[in-house]
């Protein structure tokens, strides 16, 4: 109901946040699955370094993450120059930059949830599929991923919620441009700068709390279900 009462500016911020968060989650999902699989199933030299890098955005101040992104993806940065030359892609002061910032900051959450789900899968089931003639990739697609689905969804939902709330890294790389990069947190921050801003911001604050709260409940529910399914499956396999 509250959403219906939003002003055009507020709507713009909410809509933009949703678009940015979707892009961040969709764009980073394949890499998150690959990383989670690597960390859950493989032991290799330097694993601890990969783990550290993946989790770094969780503990770095977002402003620092944003600054590093700006340096890397900027028009003078190594990656940024390459992107512009080869793909004509510019991330700085653009919603796509906001999506990259969100994706990086949310990445550890996504990987963690998927990794747990992958680790919980009974590998006997995968072995059974292999023994019945399924290839590695076929097994992964048709057995592993479906079994990990609750974890996948939970990871996506958590990452989505984290993206919706991303502030520090976003403002560094994407700036605060109304309608283009001013997502919910940037909008609220901006409004709160002037006296009486609290009155103007509360509607968006409510939307923000509701979206994040729902996402947390959904993620928790899915994780709980994954746990129960695992127990049931164990029972059927062993029993």
């Amino acid at each position: 109901m509250t959403a219906l009462l939003l002003s055009p500016d507020e709507w713009q911020a909410v809509r933009l946040s949703v678009v940015v968060a979707f892009a961040a989650v969709a764009g980073s999902l394949p890499l998150a699955i690959a990383t989670a699989w690597l960390l859950a199933r493989r032991n290799f030299r330097g694993k601890i370094v990969v783990e550290m890098l993946v989790n770094l955005p969780l503990v770095l101040p977002p402003v620092v993450t944003g600054w590093l992104l700006l340096v890397a993806f900027g028009t003078r940065g190594f990656v940024g120059r390459w992107l512009e030359e080869w793909l004509g892609l510019r991330l700085v002061f653009d919603w796509k930059g906001a999506a990259v910032a969100s994706a990086v900051v949310a990445f550890p959450l996504m990987v963690r949830a998927i990794r747990v789900a992958l680790a919980m899968i009974d590998q006997d089931v995968e072995d059974a599929a292999r023994s019945l003639g399924a290839g590695r990739l076929g097994t992964f697609w048709r057995v592993t991923l479906p079994l990990a689905r609750p974890g996948l969804v939970a990871g996506c939902v958590l990452a989505f919620a984290r993206s919706i709330g991303e502030f520090g890294a976003t403002i560094m790389i994407a700036g605060s441009i109304p309608g283009q990069t001013r997502t919910i947190p940037l909008y609220v921050y901006n409004v709160l700068q002037s006296p009486g801003g609290g009155d103007a911001a509360w509607r968006v604050v409510v939307v923000s709390v509701v979206v994040s709260g729902v996402a947390l409940v959904v993620a928790q529910g899915l994780e709980g279900r994954a746990g129960r399914e695992r127990v049931v499956r164990r029972g059927t396999v062993r029993g």
């Binding site: 900027g74 560094m172 700036g175 709160l192």
Partner: protein, 281 residues
């Protein structure tokens, strides 16, 4: 707020702590002044920095602050209206400048050049923080603000330092920031990457004033600790004025200007009326 002993006891209390909340753009200078004061008075001065809006919010929510150096007259006014300000004085002035990346690759020499082809982004502070408001006024006065908006060239940082960072990183070709920020950045070895190409005349925007607020404790705004008032007055001394000037600020209430103000000679009708409750002493 902290465990008050019985009043009127012996004068030598344990060294009192003065909590100063300072707008981000003033923190270097305020810290230096606080150091001088602390050394001389044997007081413990703690400076906490942040955006004026956040600091004012903290005071309104009951933070045990003694002195508030605000970048915005508006927020000082809010504190007064809510009965948290024992005294407000317009302490500092500042100037706006246009900065570009060192070497000036986009060839900006004046506000009009911001509309040129080689400029893609102009960085300003947020439209609701004072630096962003002054910048908009100045660019509008120069007749380029509308054009910049139409061309979608304005990018806002959270605060003025972030706008400067956009220019330093080379992503924004120009920015409008406080003169003191450029100086602070180069002092920290960061601003080597930017240069000032245009000093904005001060009559292009509303006068830039940093008020300093003597914060009242608790219910009664006039309930002010002795050390708090001492630091509040120290900020208006010649000694502090030298510190602020060395950081590039204009000092509006040196000891001289303050005497003038008290004689009622300074009445250019600006937005910051002085308020000096009776001080009985």
């Amino acid at each position: 707020m902290t465990g008050c002993g019985p009043r009127g006891g012996p004068e030598r209390d344990p060294p009192a702590r003065v909590l100063v909340l300072a707008a981000a753009s003033t923190v270097d200078a305020v810290e230096e002044a606080a150091g001088l004061f602390a050394a001389r008075e044997g007081a413990d001065v703690v400076v906490s920095a942040g955006p004026s809006s956040g600091l004012a919010g903290q005071i309104l929510e009951g933070a045990p602050a003694d002195v508030f150096v605000s970048a915005s007259a508006e927020w000082a006014e809010v504190l007064r209206a809510r009965g948290r300000a024992a005294e407000v004085v317009g302490l500092l002035g500042n100037r706006l400048v246009i900065v570009v990346l060192a070497g000036n690759p986009a060839g900006v020499a004046s506000p009009a050049d911001l509309l040129g082809e080689r400029v893609r982004w102009v960085a300003l502070a947020g439209e609701r923080v004072p630096a962003g408001v002054y910048a908009r006024e100045a660019l509008a006065h120069a007749g380029v603000y509308g054009g910049l908006v139409e061309r979608g060239r304005i990018v806002r940082g959270g605060d003025v330092r972030m706008a400067l960072a956009y220019v330093e990183s080379g992503e924004a070709q120009a920015g409008v920031v406080y003169a003191t920020d450029v100086r602070a950045a180069s002092g920290a070895g960061m601003g080597a990457g930017v240069e000032v190409v245009f000093e904005v005349p001060s009559d292009w925007h509303e006068r830039i004033v940093y008020p300093v607020v003597l914060v009242g404790r608790g219910e009664d705004a006039t309930d002010v600790r002795r050390e708090a008032r001492a630091f509040f007055e120290f900020l208006q001394s010649h000694e502090a004025a030298r510190v602020f000037e060395s950081h590039g600020f204009e000092v509006l209430t040196g000891a001289g200007a303050r005497r003038d103000a008290e004689r009622g000679e300074e009445s250019n009708g600006d937005q910051l009326p002085e308020q000096s409750p009776e001080r009985g002493g």
